[in-house]
Symmetry: C2
Subunit: 375 residues, 2 copies
């Protein structure tokens, strides 16, 4: 099911694969975010051509915007979306807790108010599993509490315990699943930024022996050193036999560091989101296409890229589209950034296979360190 | 340059072609609107595959949003956009007069204020030609005054005279064009909804003997009967040797009626614009995909359509994307509606060639008459 083909000689980075119900996924794996079952402006065919085998969708959004009954009627999310590769569905815990003044936690789950229409809902750990079972998700994520950076120990302790309890209950649900359903449950470790809580969370979760482990609750606004500290600390506690997933990171340097610490899967909303400001990923760092210097620039964004944008259109034309808020500009930029991410990951895999990951990481990060990747 | 292959036996509808600098255009011709040199969310390749040979762009928008110098630097609009088929560029007169409280007309042109940034500009009939010469437009439109429905005779008379004067002056510019530039000037007839003004305008314009004639200032909010009355009246005054263009109509029934009155070219913003409300063109009329009945509908929008949407995705999935304001929904709907329009035009051409246009029109309009095509 999960195999490591190659460990970097000196570091924790590794290459391997994970067999899922809708096909094999190579790791390290960049997972594009298709929250509602679609990527920003991109036809499925674009992702299929890139051999993207795993997309992230979100239970919270699908439940609220689409409704579980519709997915049931279509006999699953794959049929509904015609995405015939794998889906990892996040539970939406992160979203619930992003609107924390609107929710109330109890032992079984969380009551919350949908900020768009004011309607009230109740997510339980068991219910969240049941929904993802209806989706036919290839990787299921349990309900968890993603707490903020800076809360005190007692609060963090409480949330960590609740997350662990929910994990146990989801795990039980997964043992009583429908026959024939083979989605993998990845349990989530939390613990905020307290090492002893992280340790306890990981140990408790490991006891359940789920087929994959996620590190949640980092990259939530803490300083980068703090992120790396908790990432490294957590990584050391997770046995190498488990595929490891870090939730919600998105920039090339965060990804390179995650891979450095032995992370196998990560989701990235960022490459699509930054397109609306005309930010393009390139090997020379972020290109902000809105800058004046690109106004009359007849060259391509990247010479060696084979996306629709780079094969045909100039920087000046893209700048014009983005500045004029033409939909077509977003479509082109979105496709480029996704192409870029897949190219980057494939270079990383090659570097690991050639025991060259350290060099690659060092020279790559030099270009990105000084760039502002934020929106 | 312009040839009619076939006139419908009983009606004015006709099939033919127009040779332009960037290739032959079959008529009747549906011209998609790519105001800024791009169609709503669509890659050029989609239009190329549909054998679209003529796109409309807008001088007003390109001047304000992009700047003429950039187009000059790229040696024309075709190079800038990589659209290697024909461009018709509208002068933008319609836009200037849509914001009529912000403009001041004189004999040479019009002063106006750009509503976005408050900057002041001056368009002259000669300047408008010069810009389109820089664009390398395949069909050039002169500056004109597109007046509103309901104004009085004196005002309409004044605007008609000014439009004719500008047409003369643009015509002179076109005689002094750069060597090697072969764009065709289509002069615009106006006259509001007064037949004698229409007649005088057409006669004056015809004296200049431009290679094409446009009927401007209809479909501006008047009742449909009024539109048809002026269309028929104008058509009868334009000799059959001239290609005829009706500006700014967009719905299937307006188009069918225009073709019925011998119109060869029309531009259509509508098929792209209506997508944001989830309106889809089908042979059974407009499908409003947002309706509840499509929520769990697993069938395709149209069985026989070969667009990306109809080849792969269900009505329920599209509805979900449109309702959730996912960009991908607009991209799919936009491609479908453009596919639909090209299919419709090709059916119309076939019907004319088979002397079956009347039947086709009657049975087609039955389905559309009762539908609301408005946004």
């Amino acid at each position: 099911m999960f195999s490591v083909i190659k460990n970097d000689k000196h570091f924790n980075a590794r290459v391997g694969f994970l067999n899922l119900p809708h096909g094999r996924v190579d790791i390290p794996c960049f997972m594009p975010v298709g929250t509602l079952g679609a990527m920003k402006g991109l036809k499925h065919a674009v992702l299929e051509k890139l051999e993207c085998n795993l997309m992230l969708a979100n239970t919270y959004h699908l439940y609220l915007r689409l409704g579980i009954k519709t997915v049931e009627k279509y006999v699953g999310l794959h049929n509904f979306t015609t995405w015939n590769k794998n889906f990892l569905t996040d539970s939406g815990g992160f979203r619930v807790f992003s609107f924390s003044d609107l929710r109330k936690i109890d032992l079984k789950g969380v009551h919350f108010k949908f900020h768009i229409d004011g309607s009230y809902h109740y997510f339980t750990s068991e219910g969240i599993f049941a929904m993802q079972e209806i989706f036919g998700s290839d990787i299921i994520m349990p309900l968890d509490i993603c707490s903020s950076y800076g809360i005190d120990y007692n609060e963090a302790n409480l949330y960590t315990n609740i997350t662990t309890n929910w994990a146990s209950s989801t795990f039980k649900s997964s043992k009583n699943r429908k026959e024939g359903y083979n989605g993998l449950l990845f349990l989530i470790t939390q613990g905020n930024f307290f090492k002893d809580l992280r340790k306890r969370s990981i140990n408790d979760i490991l006891e359940l022996d789920s087929p994959g482990i996620a590190i949640g609750g980092i990259s939530v606004g803490e300083p980068r050193e703090k992120y790396l500290e908790i990432l490294e600390y957590s990584f050391l506690l997770i046995p190498k036999e488990k595929p490891r997933y870090v939730m919600g990171i998105g920039t090339p340097h965060y990804i390179l560091n995650a891979i450095y610490y032995g992370i196998d899967i990560f989701d990235c909303f960022n490459p699509a989101r930054i397109t609306r400001h005309g930010s393009l990923l390139t090997d020379n760092g972020i290109m902000c296409i809105g800058r004046k210097e690109y106004k009359d620039d007849t060259s391509k964004v990247e010479k060696n890229c084979i996306c629709t944008l780079c094969k045909r259109y100039s920087r000046g034309y893209l700048r014009h589209l983005i500045k004029s808020k033409e939909l077509f500009g977003i479509v082109l930029a979105s496709e480029h950034n996704i192409h870029y991410m897949f190219r980057l990951i494939s270079k990383i895999r090659a570097a690991i296979l050639n025991d060259d990951f350290l060099n690659f990481r060092t020279s790559y990060l030099k270009k990105y360190e000084e760039e502002n990747f934020d929106e």
